[in-house]
């Protein structure tokens, strides 16, 4: 299956970065084996693969965060060792991380020039000059933030831009971008792409990792595909089809995306009336029936996630009524919501999901312990372990055992563990906030299938997603929010991209 590319000998001239025969092992896992990667100058090279394919590991090796156990790295034809991220940066490889690494309480300029601050005659930092060169840099990249503004006052998108400016300030030849658009709006994405194209014409090489197929096909020149720690093939982006990419990534025929099943809707399970959270959202009302999937769409900041948090008691609403199966209920804290059969998969796996110090079993059982698996305070370790193992099998979590730390799992598998956490509580109402964020195609399809089958078995689902095709494909109805208000609830037949975007942005 491995295709030979770069057959053109003249292409060798322009080879900026080359990695050959890379192997990397972690305790119990071979993350990469015999991986290769060739980046040409003046090109955007996308790296694709499912979670656990070894993309992130390869990128971390290229950025000097990990050292390979075997294999060689060449920068512009010279063999190099990248022993630390700083070393890599000095040799011209900069990485823009999925998790942003800026110091929040320092200014934009300080963040960009840290360790390289311009000095005045006395050896003190010359803030004036630093701000001036920062403004020049930001202007060149058309990034609209102030050099002397504190990073914590910036939006996630602006922070992302600052990270890019920082990488450019190092005059890096190679820029690695790991999921750079996961927090960006469409307009910000096109701005980012302008910057990337600019960098490309300057002869830089950009390595681009994303799960968003449209972006990959739009921005990249070449695509390398990895699967299960192995290099599969490299293609020119203009000649390979979307289906072909997916087929090679997954290594099997992909299940249908958005396998929405027709379900006979039951009684109203959840009824929300005039829900308010002062200063955040107001007057939110909707009904949700058993077996129904209600999509929630809206731009980032429209209040979608806040409504979910209010329903679940994370930040209780200031007023309004919540009825569950006809009964008016008070939900002041998450345990109230759980007691009423609700489950809430949060948007941010790392911040509000994973218990990173603990293993898979402990992560999965924690919510169910509220209501099940305990007798006079003692955890019934045997039965909870059996159910967790069964759940892990059903969700196809890739792991060597339940006692593996959740830190060692890929993002998609972590997400599955968290879904398992909530399924073990046997919920009637599931709120899923961005359930497939940062997850590869195969796992995405699996999660979609799971959501559909849950609805079919009578659960009511609220599905929040920034990916419009996901919301449209999965939902019976789509609720659209804009600036804290519900601007419309569309039935499946009327819910088109155009209709939803119109409601979301007016």
């Amino acid at each position: 299956m491995s295709d030979v590319t770069l057959a053109d000998p003249t292409a060798e001239q322009a080879l900026l970065l080359s990695a050959q025969g890379i192997r990397k092992e972690f305790p119990g896992v071979v993350a990469l084996d015999g991986a290769q990667f060739n980046l040409r100058s003046g090109s955007v090279h996308a790296v694709m693969g499912e979670n656990g394919a070894g993309k992130s590991t390869l990128m971390k090796i290229l950025a000097g965060i990990y050292q390979p156990d075997a294999g060689s790295l060449h920068l512009k034809g010279k063999e190099v060792m990248l022993s630390t991220p700083l070393d890599a940066l000095e040799k011209g490889v900069a990485m823009i991380h999925q998790e942003l690494n800026l110091m929040a309480s320092m200014t934009v300029a300080e963040n960009i020039w840290i360790r390289r601050e311009p000095r005045n005659a006395f050896g003190f930092i010359d803030h004036k000059k630093m701000n001036r060169i920062t403004n020049d840099l930001l202007q060149r990249l058309r990034i609209n933030v102030r050099a002397d503004g504190e990073v914590r006052t910036l939006s996630v998108a602006s922070r992302q831009m600052v990270e890019i400016a920082k990488a450019v300030s190092y005059d890096s030849e190679v820029l690695i971008m790991d999921e750079p658009t996961s927090a960006l709006t469409d307009r910000e994405v096109s701005h980012l792409f302008e910057i990337i194209r600019e960098l490309r014409t300057e002869g830089k090489g950009v390595v681009y990792i994303s799960h968003k197929m449209n972006e990959i096909l739009e921005i990249s020149d070449e695509i390398s595909i990895f699967r299960d720690g192995k290099y599969i093939s490299t293609h020119s982006a203009s000649t390979i089809s979307r289906d072909e990419i997916i087929r090679r990534m997954v290594g099997r025929e992909v299940l249908q995306m958005f396998p929405k099943e027709d379900v006979e809707l039951g009684d109203v399970l959840l009824s929300v009336k005039n829900l308010d959270l002062e200063g955040v959202f107001s007057n939110v009302s909707f009904d949700l029936r058993a077996g129904e999937i209600l999509g929630m769409a809206g731009l980032i900041g429209s209040g979608r996630s806040n409504v979910a948090e209010a329903l679940f008691g994370v930040t209780p609403p200031t007023s309004g009524e919540i009825r569950i199966a006809g009964q008016s209920v008070q939900i002041r804290k998450p345990s109230d919501a759980i007691a009423h059969g609700m489950a809430f998969l949060t948007e941010d796996r790392k911040e509000t999901g994973c218990l990173l110090a603990l293993d898979i079993l402990e992560n999965m059982q924690i919510a169910a312990l509220q209501t099940r698996y305990t007798r006079s305070g003692f955890v019934q370790g045997g039965s909870v372990a059996v159910d967790c193992a069964e759940m892990a099998r059903r969700l196809r979590i890739k792991m060597t055992g339940l006692n593996v730390s959740i830190q060692n799992l890929s993002g998609g598998n972590q997400q599955k563990v968290l879904i398992g956490r909530w399924l073990l509580t046997a919920p009637r109402i599931l709120i899923l906030d961005e359930p497939t964020k940062g997850i590869d195609v195969g796992a995405k399809a699996e999660i979609h299938g799971l959501v559909s089958s849950l609805a079919k078995s009578g659960a009511a689902v609220i599905l929040i997603s920034s990916e419009l095709p996901e919301v449209l494909g999965m939902s019976d109805r789509v609720l659209v929010m804009h600036e804290g208000k519900v601007t419309g609830i569309l039935p499946r037949s009327d819910a088109t991209q155009v209709a939803v975007m119109e409601l979301a942005s007016r």
């Binding site: 994973c354 218990l355 110090a357 312990l369 759940m391 339940l402 046997a426």
Partner: protein, 341 residues
């Protein structure tokens, strides 16, 4: 969805589902054995005696650290929640003083409360434990509800509790305790109390919901809250238990010394924290076990007992103790770093 689960045949977790890992305490146990063997060798070389083949010395070794051990069991739990408890040593002094004041014998002519002499031992014991629990409750409420950083909240309690123990008798020691009360501190009883406490909380942390919630909160407080754990109430519980154990330690201290003084328990909280950390408890929270703490406590005991055995000057003892604490934790940090990806 329950039905779906039931429909599929249930499989027991295969051996592959629970890959065997060496216990986390193995390293630290080896450190303990190493230290003991070094003393043994030095004993034969320098003074021609065995360090280990002396039952009396071993008993005293454990006896000396039992009180710190009782505290350390509570402190470990607080640290697992990613908190800290600096007040334990002062709470020992406070509870020792107040419990002792209701444990005096009528034969003692200068009893603090002549009307409350010759009480059954259960009275001072209850007073001490309840008092410790109250101190812990205050710590917990400050941390959980007032959101004061644990370091500051328990620092305040540390200073205040020490103040109370001095103010209580204007600095005078309390003596003339009943035989019934001092019995708890006699012989190897403090060791028994320590072991029982350690077993109870080892089981509680490992096999009960209380334990699972404690680890979850320490690992990620936000995620624990979203998972339905009442984080605030649970934190108060953990701090109250730590306070209760400090109260118990105060009772044992007074009983063993047959007197109570406001200067008791100084630096005990630091020894307890050191023992927990040596035993593998992470100050970042979410990680730690009572078995590790027990070994940590024994290491502290063996260290000082060995110095006495080798007749090393007390000044050197503290220097070396400081070095060993940092060294033990350094080893652990590196081991963990290698263990992760």
């Amino acid at each position: 969805m329950e039905k779906n689960l039931a429909e599929k045949t249930r499989i027991a977790p295969s051996p592959a589902m629970q890959r065997w890992k060496p216990p986390q305490e193995l390293n630290i146990l080896l450190v303990l054995v190493g230290i003991a063997l070094i003393y043994e060798a030095m004993g034969w070389i320098f003074i021609g005696q065995s360090f280990l083949a002396n039952t009396q010395r071993l008993t005293i070794t454990i006896l000396q650290v039992s009180v710190v051990g009782i505290i350390a069991v509570g402190v470990t739990q607080v640290i697992i929640t990613s908190g800290i408890d600096l007040s334990a040593g002062s709470v020992v002094a406070m509870t020792a003083m107040i419990a002792a004041s209701v444990a005096q014998s009528s034969e003692w002519t200068r009893a603090l409360y002549p009307g409350f002499t010759d009480m059954p031992a259960i009275v001072p014991i209850s007073v001490g434990i309840i008092l410790g629990a109250i101190a812990g409750l205050i710590n917990g409420a400050l941390v959980a509800y007032a959101r004061i950083p644990p370091f500051i909240a328990t620092l305040g309690m540390m200073v205040a509790a020490r103040g109370i123990s001095k103010w209580y008798t204007k600095g005078q020691p309390i003596s003339g305790l009943t035989d019934q009360f001092t019995f708890i501190g006699s012989g190897a009883w403090p060791v028994v109390v320590f072991i029982v406490v350690a077993i109870i909380f080892h089981v509680a942390l490992k096999y009960t919901r209380y334990g699972k919630f404690t680890y979850a909160i320490g690992s990620n407080m936000q995620a624990a809250r979203v998972s339905g754990i009442n984080v605030e109430a649970h934190l108060v519980k953990v701090y109250a238990i730590a306070g209760m154990l400090a109260g118990l330690a105060g009772i044992v201290t007074a009983a063993r010394a047959q007197t109570a003084q406001s200067g008791m328990g100084v630096n005990y909280e630091l020894d307890a924290i050191a023992a927990a950390v040596i035993g593998g408890t992470s100050l970042a929270g979410g990680i730690g076990r009572i078995t590790g703490t027990v070994i940590g406590v024994i290491i502290l005991g063996v260290m000082s007992s060995g110095f006495t055995f080798l007749r090393v000057d007390a000044y050197y003892q503290e220097i070396v103790k400081g070095v060993i604490i940092v060294a033990a934790v350094t080893v652990d940090v590196y081991r963990n770093r290698r263990g992760r990806g």
